[in-house]
């Protein structure tokens, strides 16, 4: 994916965009394989350090990275 607008630095943005685009595609295809009527609406990845939230669409992708609240 090509980032249009970002609040992080360029390299990180590019990395996130590329990786998450692929992951979203994979997730979406998984969901659709199980049930073709279904579609992916939201993807949340929780890790030790952050939570990454991805909202996919036909053409665009919105990625939010959040630190967990203590």
């Amino acid at each position: 994916g090509i980032p249009i607008r970002t609040t992080l630095d360029n390299s990180t943005t590019v990395q996130y965009a590329g990786l998450l685009q692929q992951l979203t595609m994979k997730a979406r295809s998984t969901v659709r394989d199980i049930d073709p009527q279904n579609d992916l609406t939201f993807l949340r990845i929780r890790s030790k350090k952050h939570e990454i939230m991805v909202a996919p669409d036909k053409e665009y992708l919105l990625i939010v990275i959040q630190n967990p609240c203590e």
Binding site: I2, P3, I4, R5, V14, G18, T41, F42, R44, R46, K48, E51, M53, A55, D57, E59, Y60, L62, V64, Q66, P68, C69, E70
Partner: protein
């Protein structure tokens, strides 16, 4: 005829060839004629000419006598042509009888006797054809043959004879075989051998049985063969030595043939090649970005997605998704499970009757690196008034600093010699072998215990092995000395009395190793990364900064070895102060305060340090040079030692932003920063204690109420952020836990009977936490802090911080309220005054 010729010729030519023919003839003769004569001739082997094919010819030698008898004298009766002579058989026989053995005919006696005819032919052999001068023809036929055609060629005669013979053979009529008696040739013997004969007569047996027994039922019984003696014969196997052949050598032939197989492979030789790719992510140009940002599609997308995202964010906000409930559960249980009765467990206590009799311990310090070593400074037990008039006091006993080890509670490990009573001392954080102490007369002393470092480290084994020592004579004295007395270490540097404090040094600290000051008060980066500077304060109202001098240790008379000591690092901008303990050691900076000081701060300037350059000493600007100082009167002064250079006079002028707080009524005996929060300070003095925050100028965050007894010592706990220990003058220790109760201590424990003079906590290992408590009697108690008191609960850090924040807010709020109240008061007063005025006027 030709045949005859040929045969005759052959017979003449070679006796051998003729012999063959003769032989053949003879054989033919033999087959047809009587065999007897032939057999008879064969018996006589040597005489007949059978060997050359003339078996009937017997060469003879006729002596003259014989010739005379038989009228066959040579050359008279018998000539070459007329070689034949017929002799009568009877004559020969008579001759044989008369002359017996000397007769010439004796050899052929038998032939003569057997001769069938009457007349025998004797032939004169002139040519010695047959080896002798005469030869005798033994057969009639031969006689006939020889006689009849004598003159013509013998060949023809012989041929004719042969022919005749042959013809006679052919014409010979059939004679039926004559019965001859069987001649044994030895075959009967073989037959006899082969035949089977009975050697012995055969024995005949006849076995009979009564008829009625035939077919009768039979009963069988068993009998054990082993029961009956001799019923069986055992042939046990035994090793027969004759048959045991030890095989000594065995020749074995082995042949190994390797399997030969040819195989081949072809590999593809890949050349290692360095390849690199470089890529960069594709990015949109800014115009494209703008364009896409403003597109409709994007707006739609955002509106649709926005809701989802908001929900997710909200969820996160409400609840922390990363919270590990399981872990938290475990921790809660451990901390709240029952109240243990004992928080402090007695571990050990140290006292020394020789040195610490009637003395009080003024300061306790743990060795920073070696486990189990604790140092104690002893001082005279003085009452308050006596303390003031120190100059009158003459010290009777040598004051020392004792080093104790856990492993040897009776004998102190090391003793540091002090010229005066030491009030306070500290190990250098960078080099635990350097100890700086402040005396009761205001001097600052340095010791170096590098020599004994090893001894301290092996303190455990020393206790056991101190009796087993070298037997050398010169060291015996020292050994004895060391077994009874710990080694005494002399100080290596002492400050000059002129420039030291006038009153006892009440606190001493090492400055951290990443910066140092110079005379101007500006801080510089410390290249050596060792602690080289000290701060001391004293009730004379001054705070002095000292540099470590470069010294060499003097000869130590009581030491066992004299070792070269390395010099301390000297920062380049400090003059070499002393090589000898008496040369003066001056302080670097002197900060004079208004009032008498007692206890200083532990300044730990926190920094935003820029990366130090290795070349020059860089001026560090961001180091905070503030410090807290507590005074004898109970004031807490917060000030800054950095000196500014006055722009006009170019003289260093110390800044004075001193802030003073009066909370405590009596001398402050402890001021300490919390090990967890850099800006929280605990102050203990008189009947109460207070917790301050740096930067909060309104007042203390927490202030305790006045207690019955006096607080004499206080320390933060090293492991729990909200816990601190307060020592009292009745020998109890109060353990305060801010999170539990703030109005009273969470736990009380009695340590000793007399006043507690100093508390020092220490973490020796993650499981062992100690609290060293010293009292007025000169006893050092070491207590072990139990787990609930040493392990922080989860989030304690955050909770304590929270608490402080709240308190600060509360303070602010209080102040605000107060201000407002004051304003209100002022207003109302004004009003009143106005009214009054109004009234007056009226």
């Amino acid at each position: 005829m030709s045949e005859n010729l040929v045969s005759g010729k052959t017979s003449l030519k070679g006796p051998k060839t003729s012999a063959k023919k003769q032989k053949g003839e003879n054989k033919a003769k033999e087959s047809s004629k009587g065999k007897r004569t032939q057999l008879g001739k064969k018996d006589k082997i040597d005489l007949s000419m059978a060997s050359i094919g003339h078996p009937e010819i017997f060469p003879l030698v006729f002596t003259t006598k014989t010739q005379e008898i038989f009228n066959c004298r040579v050359d008279e009766d018998v000539t070459e042509e007329n070689c034949f002579k017929l002799i009568k058989k009877e004559d020969i026989i008579q001759d044989l009888k008369t002359r017996a053995t000397i007769s010439d005919f004796h050899p052929i006696k038998k032939v003569v006797l057997e001769y069938p005819g009457e007349e025998l032919l004797v032939v004169f052999d002139a040519k010695f054809q047959y080896g002798q001068n005469f030869y005798f023809v033994a057969s009639e036929e031969a006689k006939e043959n020889l006689l009849k055609p004598p003159e013509t060629a013998e060949e023809k005669e012989e041929e004719k004879e042969e022919e005749n013979r042959e013809e006679t053979l052919e014409v010979h009529p059939y004679k039926p075989p004559v019965h001859k008696p069987w001649v044994s040739l030895g075959s009967e013997k073989e037959v006899e051998e082969e035949s089977v004969k009975d050697t012995i007569t055969k024995i005949k047996y006849m076995i009979s049985r009564v008829r009625r027994k035939f077919g009768a039922p039979i009963t069988f019984t068993d009998k054990n063969a082993s029961h009956v003696k001799d019923s069986y014969v055992e042939c046990t196997s035994y090793q027969d030595k004759t048959y045991s052949i030890k095989m000594l050598e065995k020749n074995v032939g082995i042949q190994m043939v390797p399997k030969l197989r040819e195989a081949s492979t072809q590999t593809k030789w890949t050349y290692p090649k360095n390849a690199a790719t470089q890529y960069f992510p594709r990015q949109l140009s800014s115009e494209e970005k703008e364009e896409s940002l403003s597109s409709e599609k994007l707006k739609e997308f955002l509106t649709s997605v926005h809701l989802r995202m908001e929900i997710a964010l909200q969820q996160n906000e409400i609840m922390n998704a990363f919270f590990d409930d399981w872990k938290a559960l475990a921790e809660d249980e451990s901390s709240s499970g029952g109240k243990p009765d004992v928080y402090l467990k007695a571990y050990q206590s140290f006292t020394d009757l020789r040195h610490l009799k009637d003395r009080t311990i003024s300061w306790v310090c743990w060795h920073p690196t070696i486990y189990g070593i604790i140092a104690v400074s002893a001082g005279e037990r003085l009452s308050y008034e006596e303390q003031v008039n120190l100059s009158d006091k003459s010290l009777l006993q040598q004051s020392v600093i004792l080093f104790w080890s856990f492993f040897d509670p009776i004998h102190p490990q090391l003793m540091l010699e002090c010229p005066e009573d030491i009030y306070c001392f500290q190990f250098s954080p960078s080099d635990p072998n350097i100890i700086a102490g402040g005396c009761i007369n205001g001097q600052v002393i340095l010791w170096d215990i590098s020599q004994h470092e090893e001894k301290l480290q092996n303190a455990k084994t020393v206790a056991d092995g101190i009796e087993i020592t070298a037997v050398n004579m010169p060291s015996l004295m020292q050994v004895q000395q060391s077994s009874t007395e710990p080694p005494l270490v002399r100080y290596c540097a002492v400050s000059s009395i002129q420039y030291s404090h006038e009153k006892p040094v009440t606190d001493i600290h090492w400055l951290p190793d990443y910066f140092e000051d110079n005379r101007m008060g500006a801080t510089f980066e410390n290249r050596a990364e060792t602690c080289v500077q000290l701060v001391t304060c004293s009730p004379d109202g001054s705070v002095l900064f000292w540099d470590i001098p470069a010294t060499k240790l003097p000869e130590q008379p009581s030491s066992e070895k004299v070792k070269e000591e390395e010099t301390f690092y000297v920062p380049p901008d400090v003059p070499d102060t002393s090589k000898h303990p008496d040369v003066c050691w001056k302080p670097l900076i002197k900060v004079q305060s208004l009032n008498a000081l007692e206890v200083p701060a532990k300044e730990s300037p926190y920094t935003e340090m820029s990366i130090p350059s290795s070349k020059n000493l860089k001026v560090l600007e961001n180091i905070s040079t503030d410090f807290f100082v507590g005074t004898e009167d109970g004031e807490i002064v917060y000030s800054d030692w950095e000196m500014e250079i006055h722009s006009d006079s170019a003289k260093p002028v110390s800044q004075k932003h001193a802030q003073k707080y009066i909370i405590h009524t009596e001398t402050i005996n402890t001021l300490q920063r919390s090990p967890f929060f850099k800006d929280i300070i605990l102050s203990v003095g008189g009947r109460n204690f207070a917790i301050w925050r740096e930067g909060v100028t309104n007042g203390p965050i927490l202030q305790s109420s006045c207690s019955a007894g006096r607080y004499t010592a206080g320390q933060w706990s090293l492991t729990r952020p909200g816990v601190f220990f307060i020592g009292r003058d009745d020998g109890n220790i109060d353990i305060w836990d801010i999170l539990k109760k703030t109005h009273e201590p969470s736990h009380l424990q009695n340590i000793s009977k007399s006043t507690i003079t100093f508390i020092s906590p220490w973490t020796a290992s993650p499981n062992q936490h100690f609290l060293a408590v010293s009292d007025d009697l000169g006893v050092l108690h070491v207590w072990e802090i139990c787990q609930p008191l040493s392990h922080p609960s989860s989030n304690e850090d955050a909770n304590v911080l929270d608490y402080f924040e709240r308190e600060v807010k509360y303070l602010k709020y209080c102040e605000q309220e107060f201000q407002e109240y004051q304003e209100l008061q002022a207003k109302t007063e004004l009003k009143w005054s106005w009214r009054h005025r109004g009234r007056k006027q009226v």
